[in-house]
Amino acid sequence: MQISLKTIGFSILLLLGLILAFSPLDTVRKEQIPTKTLLEELQKESVYVQADELAQWIIDKDPGIQIADIRSEKDFSNYHIPESIHIPFGQIENIEKSDLFDETKMLILASNGNTRAGQAWILLKQLGIKDVYILAGGLNHWVQNFSNPEHPKGAYTDDELFTYQFRKAAGTVMLGQTLSVAQDNKATDAKPKPIRRKRKKAKKKVDEGC
């Protein structure tokens, strides 16, 4: 009885293995997200990181983010966001092989505007990289945002004023310029702007299994 039970067990095992051997296991895993779905997702706000939000993370030295600048070499050497790494658009599909790339971090794509970054975003999503976002408005908006922030007009709220002051102040760090921080109103104790999108905390790479 004991023997036959074992024989049944072994046979079931081999049968399960045989099914696996002929199953489309690896193709299932690599199944691509249809481009149409991704295009739809690209319209959502949740894909984009706002300039102020990103600046705050850079100032906080958040270890969980990495910024990939996908513009040309010339543009990158001209100016780039602090801490960003340079991966030209043409090489974006090889990003996983790059030494600079850390898959455990949230990846933020920065281009001149939104279009190129959007294309790169779709490409990376299809490669199976999950934690990837786009800098809203790209570098063009970024520079404008911090070099010449728009002072809130009319009856502005504390929040609006705070944003303005933050941009003024952050500009010195982000653009490397020495701009005088606006001291025209004593609203510095205003609460920081809440971050709109909850972001996963950066996880340390799990240590050895044993």
Partner: protein, 167 residues
């Protein structure tokens, strides 16, 4: 209380495998043991010579509160589970496991020496039989399988020299 017989190795293996599978499904990681010991080690060292642990590149990796580590909790669990099973089967007693041809003292010296060698090997390979051979084996890790074969190779090669200890 009379000791009950051991469970069929296949059944125990299935139980172990399902435990590991659940760990993968829930936590995304397998089991382990020696990593927790390392952390415990560094924790003790830290009590006596914190400057020393901080200056050693290897120890510094593990210098954190041991109670903030997954593996440490897992090994605490192993203690609980092992004790419960032993108690249920009436196998709790202070004895020294050995073959009939070796003295108690000899066996304990061998146990300490073997443990020390294993500790070094486990750290070098980044895992032990549970963390690397079992977990790596199930995830089809190349290193896990190579390691497993080498463990059996090393053990079978040594077995003849220490046969007095066991048979």
């Amino acid at each position: 209380m009379k000791e009950s017989k051991f469970m069929s190795p296949y059944l125990a293996g299935i139980g172990l495998g399902l435990t590991m599978l659940l760990a993968f499904l829930i936590m995304g990681r397998g089991l382990g043991a020696s990593g927790a010991m390392m952390r415990f080690d560094v924790w003790i060292l830290n009590l006596f010579a914190p400057a020393h642990t901080a200056s050693n590149a290897y120890f510094a990796n593990y210098a954190e509160n041991p109670l903030s580590n997954w593996l440490v909790f897992e090994v605490l669990g192993v203690m609980i589970g092992g004790f419960l099973s032993g108690a249920l089967a009436g196998r709790l007693k202070f004895v020294i496991g050995k073959g009939p041809r070796i003295s108690n003292r000899g066996r304990l010296i061998m146990a300490f020496g073997g443990g020390a060698i294993m500790g070094i090997g486990a750290r070098l390979a980044r895992g032990c039989t549970s963390g690397l051979a079992l977990t790596g084996g199930a995830t089809l890790s190349l290193g896990g399988w190579v390691f497993m074969l080498c463990v059996f190779g090393g053990a079978y090669a040594t077995a003849w020299f220490v046969r007095k200890q066991w048979i």
